[in-house]
Amino acid sequence: MTWRTLRQRTYYYLSVMTLRFLVLLWLAFLLAAPAQAVSTGWKEAPHIQVELVSEYQAVSPGQRFRVALHLLPQEHWHTYWLNPGDSGMPTQIHWQLPDGVEVSDIQWPTPEAFSIPPLMNYGFEGSTVLVSEVEVPADYAGTSLVLKADASWLVCEEICIPGDMTLELPLAVARQAVVSSNVQALFAQGKAAQPVLLQRTASYQVQDGVFSAVIESKDDLLVDAFFVAATDLVEHARPQEISWQDGSLLLRQPQNTYFHQAPEQIDIVLTSGPQSFVVQAHRLDAGSPAVVSAEFGFGAFLLALLLAAGGGLILNLMPCVFPVLSLKAISLANNSGDSARQKRDAWSYTLGVLTMFALLALMLIGLRAAGAAVGWGFQLQNPWLVGALAYLFFVLGLSLSGLVQFGSRLMQLGSGLGQQQGAKGSFFTGVLAVIVASPCTAPFMGAALGYAVTQSAPVALMVFLALGLGMALPFLLLAYSRRLARLLPKPGAWMDTLKQWLAYPLYLTTVWLLWVLGRQAGVDAQALVLVGLVCLAAALWLWGRQQLGKGFRLAPQLSWVFALLAVLLLVLLQPQSGQQEAVGQAHWEQWSPARLADLKAEQQPVLVNMTADWCITCLVNERVALNTDSSRQALSDYGVTYLKGDWTLRDGEISAYLQHYQRDGVPLYVLYWPGQEPKILPQILTPNTLRDQLAQLAATSSGG
């Protein structure tokens, strides 16, 4: 035995004597209570002692209880955490348990950081309690339960010694579980050493050489250090940056040299003085919303279907739908007693409605799958579509007003009341009903349908179909229930008057659509569509006169010319960005490749911000670092033009710009300073980032 090892051993025994008082106390208890073994007792291994301890001396079937691997390394020696840092190895336990007995992963205590420049390790010195939870199945038949653990560890001071040991702890199985009172202090110590789970929204990202995490923290939790529970994300030995911005805790550290993959979810342990907490952070993927939607339970799914069907039923009363369908319902219900035909018509109509809803759902699912961040209501985001709907409602309104009679099989209203109608006609009435209903669904059901769309494709489709079924339900009921049909008034001359009254809700719907259009595409585009409406009115007036036999020779042709003119006007519509109005007051302008090129050519400093409504980091950054008085001042001090590109809906030009900077998602912040390479700012901005970067650029360009 060399002098060194002799000294170490002596030191070791002395250190055990002076170690944790609690442990000695506990050992004394153990000796005094020999009745039931709840510990394997200390097992010696080089530089460390280990034991396996059970919270209960007798366990019962169906019970969950805690077991602990208790490690006591020699003084100044340590074992390792789940993420050991730059070297080392976490302690591992492979359990051999009877069939059906389950055991959890180790519930790790909060680690300590051991800095050995240039490296950093995370681990534990002194008495270390690694708790796992064991679950005994309810049908466990044995009279004893042997916990067998193959434990392996690495214990290090300057040098490292790997160790492994198989620990066996037999426990009695009884109807009544018996707790081991003398180990409660040990389990309490184990619990106290673990971080407390915080339910916070947290996300993280590894990009451009930097690990960053954003944790919702309204109470400004004071954090002095963090530990990332994954091996190769952060460069452990490099300084950590911790800051608070307006209800968010921001953590940053350079990316690990050996980083290659970011797990979907990681634990981040936060220490705050003697306290420690753990949050679960989701990986924030470029170009996807950070919030993972909750899974639909089956009950919630049924409820969603029911609500959707109810919503569909209500749709029939909407101002855009009611005028078109109510008269049709009456005509169908009074259809001269041909019950078979009525049923066939009702089903054809239902099929039309369902087909159209399925098409809409698939379109929406497809758009989302393609990456567009659209919600229900996307149909109102396209000015041409809004214009076309305005035309449709106006034409329907004029028809109800009696300007023209449509004999087509699409809508058999008014003159067609008594006419028999084919299954095909009913089908297309269903399709039309959904189209006229679509502008009404957006404001009234947008949120609910938007939620459905975030679910899996089959779930979303089912919700849309339930909505369709609800919408078609009145027609099915009328076809199948004679009694219900008898409640409806008989058709007569009064229907003409009602029809003319019902035109007005349609005109109002037209006005609303024009308002939406004006907001979207500007007053010029709105005027263009209004001229289009006048053309349509002229076309229909000419057509109506023709129907009454009052037309002149070229009236049908002229009518077509007007109709075509209306369509042409819509096609020519040039939406000007509705945002431009806001730009006047805002400190940013809308980004475009041309504008950026112009500014660069003029040797102007430019800040480009690529953002999207669904990007949390983008919004946080704007709120805390870009839209602040200090940053506005910095932009004006340095004469920087701030261009903002919105990628909320996919935009080819922005995508190309992002690719140019090797990005496939937002946020992206680029500072252009005349005569210098474009500078990419970090993904997580602090209030001073912009001012500091500008100062740096200004200093280098004038100093260099």
């Binding site: 070297s87 190895m89 240039p118 690495l154 492994d164 050489g209 490099r238 040299t257 200004a698 200093a699």
Partner: protein, 200 residues
């Protein structure tokens, strides 16, 4: 005002930025000039035109022992040196710290373990280790015949000290070295190194 700008610029330089110290895959590997256990001086330029494998080692480190008692390391050394690749075992432990050895001890270790490195470099100053940002033993690097760094990381995928895990592991270094020999791009050029800290 000017001073203020400079100060904030300096403050910024101290904050979180991408790692610059570590060598980059695809870039020229850091040069070195180190004496080997036979007193001969080597530098990277001497090996121009040949593939070079660097192995950071410490004979007492359990993770190194794992690969020597199993003959895994010796096998790799033999396989690659036979294929005209230069294999350099590097010891960066500073004098007085664990793992530091005299030239005689280094040669004795090579003989007693039947190791086959082209040379054992005694990087007592740690300069070479720091230039490569070598962190652990064993930490492995592959440098191409053109002097560019092609691989850095672990010897394999299971970070334990148990020799029984070697056959179950994905042999990162062997795969990278073989890909380089076959003239193919390295499929996993960066992996996590595991082992004992280097005692700089």
């Amino acid at each position: 005002m000017k001073l203020k700008q400079l100060i904030s610029a300096m403050a910024l330089a101290g904050t979180v930025t991408a790692v610059a110290a570590a060598p980059q895959i695809g870039a020229p590997a850091p040069d070195f000039t180190v004496v080997d256990s036979h007193g001969q001086t080597h530098s990277l330029a001497d090996f121009a035109g040949k593939n070079v494998i660097l192995e950071w080692t410490n004979h007492d480190c359990p993770f190194v022992v794992k690969h020597y008692v199993s003959d895994n390391m010796q096998g790799l050394q033999q396989h690659f040196t036979e294929d005209d690749t230069v294999w350099l075992s590097v010891i960066s432990s500073k004098p007085g710290s664990q793992g530091h050895v005299s030239p005689e001890k280094a040669n004795e270790l090579t003989a007693s373990r039947s190791a086959n490195p082209s040379a054992v470099l005694l990087d007592e100053s740690g300069d070479m280790g720091r230039a490569y940002d070598a962190r652990v033993t064993p930490h492995m690097y592959v440098i191409g015949a053109d002097g560019n760094l092609l691989y850095m990381g672990g010897i394999d995928s299971i970070p334990t000290a148990n020799p029984e895990d070697i056959p179950k592991a994905e042999a990162y270094l062997a795969n990278a070295g073989n890909e380089v020999l076959a003239g193919q791009p390295v499929s996993k050029p960066v992996t996590r190194p595991y082992g004992c800290s280097i005692k700089y």
